[in-house]
């Protein structure tokens, strides 16, 4: 049994580390496709990457229901760490989650199962945080939309391979939709619901 003393630590300086992490995530959301770095270090439990852990410490609390994929939910280290450091309730129903943590992108459930917001309150939607293999090499994706000066090219090794095809539902749903944050170690890229993939190469 893990005791609290054995849990990976949170931020050394929770105020300034949370601020720095938030600015990285805010810049990522404001400039889709551009890779931002998360600098502050925190312990990361089980299958959780350090970037994901920093985002969790920065944005999660008792007001944010979390949905975890099977790999995360099966890790008692993850559950204990989240409970101790953030207090965020873990829910089984993905359609009421404020955030979803996906460590195995291959098993990403259909995006319609998450909260999409309503036409009146499109902000009441799930932010899906997907851990991916890499955000510096791999397939090239050309992105357009608010926050992008013309076209942004993202090179990434992503699972599920058809993530961007699946995200095309955001086009029809807007202003409802799903916002995605991709994390690879300390690198983070956001794909808000306004971003469109115009073409992709290998």
């Amino acid at each position: 049994m893990t005791t609290i003393a054995e849990l990976p630590p949170g931020f050394a300086d929770k105020v300034l580390s949370a601020q720095s992490t938030f600015r990285s995530v805010m810049d990522a959301m404001a400039r889709p496709g551009l890779v931002q770095r998360i600098v502050p270090m925190a312990g990361a439990p089980g299958p959780m990457m350090r970037g994901t852990a920093a985002i969790a410490l920065t944005l999660f609390d008792h007001d944010t229901p979390l949905w975890l994929d099977a790999q995360m939910a099966e890790s008692s280290d993850v559950l204990k760490w989240l409970k101790f450091h953030t207090g965020a309730p873990v829910v089984q129903d993905s359609s009421i989650a404020a955030f979803a943590l996906i460590s195995d992108g291959g098993a990403l459930p259909p995006l319609e199962r998450f909260a999409l917001g309503s036409s009146e309150y499109p902000d009441r939607s799930t932010t899906v945080i997907v851990q991916v293999d890499g955000l510096s090499s791999g397939r090239a994706f050309e992105l357009r939309g608010p926050g992008i000066d013309g076209v942004a090219t993202l090179q990434a090794s992503i699972k599920p391979f058809d993530l961007f095809e699946r995200l095309r539902m955001n086009e029809a749903l807007f202003p409802r939709g799903i916002d995605v944050v991709l994390v690879a170690d300390d690198a983070v890229v956001a794909i808000p619901r306004t971003t469109r993939v115009v073409s992709k190469g290998s």
């Binding site: 300034l16 938030f22 404001a30 609390d61 007001d63 499109p122 902000d123 808000p192 306004t194």
Partner: protein, 294 residues
Amino acid sequence: MNAPAYNFAYLDEQTKRMIRRAILKAIAIPGYQVPFASREMPMPYGWGTGGVQVTAAILGPQDVLKVIDQGSDDTTNAISIRKFFAKTAGVATTTATDEATVIQTRHRIPETALHASQVLVYQVPIPEPLRFLEPRETETRRMHALAEYGLMHVKLYEDIARFGHIATAYAYPVKVNARYVMDPSPTPKFDNPKMDNCPALQLFGAGREKRIYAIPPYTQVVSLDFEDHPFEPYRFNAPCALCGAENSYLDEIVTDDKGGRMFVCSDTDYCEGRQAAGHHGSLSAAPYKEKAHG
């Protein structure tokens, strides 16, 4: 106990998390007003409590903060907010637009073009552009949901019917990313074109009305108009009396009770920068006059 009684940048961490989550959704849905649990701040509503909360949630020790009120760095509101963050967050402050990383503004966008590493935070009194046309929040919310903005066009049309032109001079409604009609806060419509395709992130905070909204960088912002009555920015037809600028937004200053007046740049940093660079106007300060008169 001599420990400081407040957190870094005044707000507690739980409040910052809540505001930060609202900011992320605001950026993801450009122009949509995200409700947030606005806190009481140590200043009255109307003094920029919304902008202050947004600034407090994003500010870090490495930031350089500039605060302007109607373009001026030197008014009570600008000085007190600048001092507030210098004291509670220990951040460096500046009046130079170029050097700032975070600029909090009341009712102006700086004349100097903003760049990609800057964030512009607006203080917003009434975030709902439809509020004076439809007082019910339930109705305006539905109008936004359906993108039903006919009422706003009727309002602008009534301006034309009554005055011969669109008489709205400030808080001129814009459409963001071809979807949401948004109130740009009471900036003069002269500033509207600066919001379009701006390299800087623009965040809007309304404290009393409890709304946060945003325009991401490089986002289309169009001022509403008609084909036969296109949007036109308004500016007094005069050069700045201090720096001679012919393309800046001007304040009209009454100088006596006999109809005397002067027009000066509303953006004090821009005006001082131009004067320092050797530009001068018809009423420049004494040293210039003395030199000119030998």
